[in-house]
């Protein structure tokens, strides 16, 4: 599942429309989803305050699913370095208040220009002379929160320059922002599509069915913690060698003695190893 994180309604609307996302009332904050394409969107508002709680709520609602978080939104750019409407993939995030720096893993071959960004506490309206590149109000908090719950390569930050740090956020024109994002939708969705591939690499070796098989046999044959760990490794080895063959059915009687139990355990492992 991919989760787009936006701050403003003007940022959400183009995605809701373009990706056919439907409002879901599961949470008491803006949450939209299209299960057919595996994309959701959550709105976190401007600044840091709602980010942690909303991302955690969303994340906890998905069991056993690889989640990729993609923050897409507007940023202030320097007048002499950027054009309004220019799109960037972020490769370095500096938190202006803590000086903490984050580095998204950029593994996907993408057509976007890369840039760094500074996340500030308050809007910047003086041209941003003191900042090296882009400025926003959410990226560092989003990266910080997400990096504690998913691998770093499953977090991406995309920013579109909406102003040159001379405009107060209350003066942002909803239609202008939406239209700038809509104008870049092909590039953004191309990235999102490619990015999905990364989420499919290196998932768990055992499926839920495999794990259920282990649990069933653990209970049936009264396996010890050590035996369960050994069985888990044997099952993983089996799965690596037999990607699509079901695990064998074990039809032994429930053990009555320790010797029985050990013999059954040995027999299970031998069956998997042959």
């Amino acid at each position: 599942m991919q989760c787009i994180i936006t701050a403003l309604k003007a940022e959400s609307d183009p995605f809701i429309q373009y990706l056919g996302l439907k409002r879901d009332k599961a949470f008491n904050f803006p949450y939209f989803i299209n299960n057919d394409i595996g994309i959701a969107l959550i709105g976190v508002g401007v600044g840091r305050k709602n980010i942690r709680a909303r991302i955690h709520k969303f994340f906890r609602s998905f069991d056993d699913t690889v989640i990729q978080f993609i923050n897409i939104g507007v940023a202030g750019g320097k007048k002499n370095q950027t054009r309004i409407g220019q799109l960037f993939l972020i490769n370095k995030i500096i938190d202006d208040s803590t000086n903490q720096t984050y580095y998204p893993d950029i593994l996907i071959d993408h057509p976007l220009i890369e840039n760094s960004i500074t996340t500030v506490q308050r809007g910047v309206y003086d041209g941003g002379g003191q900042y090296d590149s882009l400025v926003d109000m959410e990226a560092s908090e989003i990266f910080s929160v997400c990096s504690k719950i998913v691998p770093i390569h499953n977090i991406a930050i995309i920013k579109l320059v909406s102003d040159h740090m001379e405009t107060h956020e209350s003066e942002f024109d909803h239609d202008m922002i939406s239209s700038l994002l809509m104008g870049k939708m092909d590039k953004i969705t191309y990235f999102i599509d490619k990015y999905k591939l990364l989420g499919r690499i290196n998932g768990p070796i055992l499926s839920k069915t495999d794990m259920d098989w282990i649990t069933h046999n653990k209970e049936q044959y009264l396996l010890t913690v050590t035996q369960v760990n050994q069985l888990m490794n044997t099952v993983k080895s089996y799965r690596l060698h037999n990607s699509s063959i079901s695990l064998p059915e074990i039809n032994a009687k429930r053990p009555m003695t320790k010797v029985d139990q050990k013999n059954i355990f040995r027999a299970i492992r031998e069956k998997l190893e042959t």
Partner: protein, 339 residues
């Protein structure tokens, strides 16, 4: 893999290493890469939440300055080299290859490579150690390709060449450059140095195909070895790790017989041999990271914090292989790890 950035698409540069010759060289080699300035390599390399194997699909290069210690005593996981003065250093952290059995995937959080550009500091540390060795009657041996494959990087950064030039002619000092690379051609023009051992790790073809898929094929490595021997270099062959797969005896005996039809064993400096073994913490970390290699799901013994093939199997397999090897290499040149 298609859809992924090529290796070294991004170069992360510590602010402190701007202007070092190796920094300039690396940046000139990758002029189209994205350059990201960083404060300290550990901010990137050591951070939690990285996926070693995913990062290996598109490795990045980090240029950094090594701080002390510049030299480390050799671990008890390597063979005895008949001298207590054995050390290793780390001109590079991590390897361009990604062999299944490699401990680096358990040692480091990151699949990216760190190149330390202040090689002079590392060389000075060797000079200091050599001037006051633990055993003055024995030479000092330094493995410079221990947590990496230096020669494999030679076309990117000519570090092996620089280290060979540094060590050549120094008394009582030997550098070991361990590799799986076929890039001997990149240093072929250098006069062979008595201070340098070029060590090639070799495995039978089925092991190469299954567990060393990102390293050069066996044939290319053998050709590089032949070329190095012909040029007069001291060559060590490392059959390490020996992977005791089901039909290991047939596979390894055939492999050794064929290998020594091509290579004259008496021309080798020595041969090392050892079964698969790994620090327990690294092993467990690799297992936890859902490695796709079946090596990590076999049964092993744990001896002094090392995960290792159980002693009986280990001794008998090593004896068997030593017996085969003695047909081609004098017994006193065969160094076996069987602690």
């Amino acid at each position: 893999m298609k859809n992924l950035k090529p290796n070294f698409s991004h170069i992360y540069v510590e602010k402190d290493v701007v202007g070092y010759p190796l920094t300039d060289l690396a940046l000139s080699k990758f002029s189209s890469s994205s350059i990201v300035m960083i404060d300290h390599y550990k901010d990137l390399f050591n951070r939690p939440g990285q996926d070693f194997q995913v990062q290996k699909l598109s490795m990045k290069l980090i240029l950094a300055k090594k701080k002390e210690p510049y030299l480390y005593p050799a671990s008890n996981i390597i063979q005895d080299y008949d001298t207590p003065n054995v050390f290793y250093n780390t001109p590079i952290l991590n390897c361009i290859y990604n062999c299944d059995y490699c401990y680096l995937q358990g040692m480091y959080n990151s699949g990216n490579l760190v190149v330390f550009v202040n090689e002079d500091d590392m060389m000075d540390a060797i000079d200091r150690e050599v001037s006051d060795p633990r055993d003055p009657s024995r030479p000092t041996v330094v493995s410079i390709s221990y947590n990496t494959d230096l020669l494999a990087m030679e076309n990117i950064l000519p570090l092996s060449r620089r280290w060979i030039n540094y060590i050549d002619g120094k008394r009582d000092t030997i550098l070991e450059i361990r590799t799986k690379s076929a890039l001997f051609g990149a240093i072929k023009d250098i006069e062979p140095s008595e201070n340098v051992i070029l060590s090639w790790t070799l495995s039978p073809e089925p092991i190469c195909a299954k567990y060393e898929s990102t390293a050069p094929p066996l044939k290319s490595r053998v050709n590089a070895i032949k070329s190095a021997l012909d040029s007069g270099w001291q060559v060590r062959l490392c059959f390490d790790p020996i992977i005791l797969i089901d039909d290991w005896f047939e596979i390894y005996s055939l492999f050794l017989k064929r290998l020594f039809q091509e290579i004259n064993g008496s021309h080798l400096r020595d041969v090392t041999l050892g079964v698969f073994r790994m620090n327990k913490d690294y092993f467990n970390r690799i297992r936890k990271r859902e490695t796709r290699s079946d090596i990590y799901f076999s049964d092993y013994a744990i001896e002094n914090g090392i995960v290792v093939v159980d002693s009986e199997k280990r001794r008998s397999s090593m004896e068997t292989l030593v017996n085969i090897l003695t047909e081609f290499v004098p017994k006193d040149k065969i160094l076996v790890w069987k602690k």
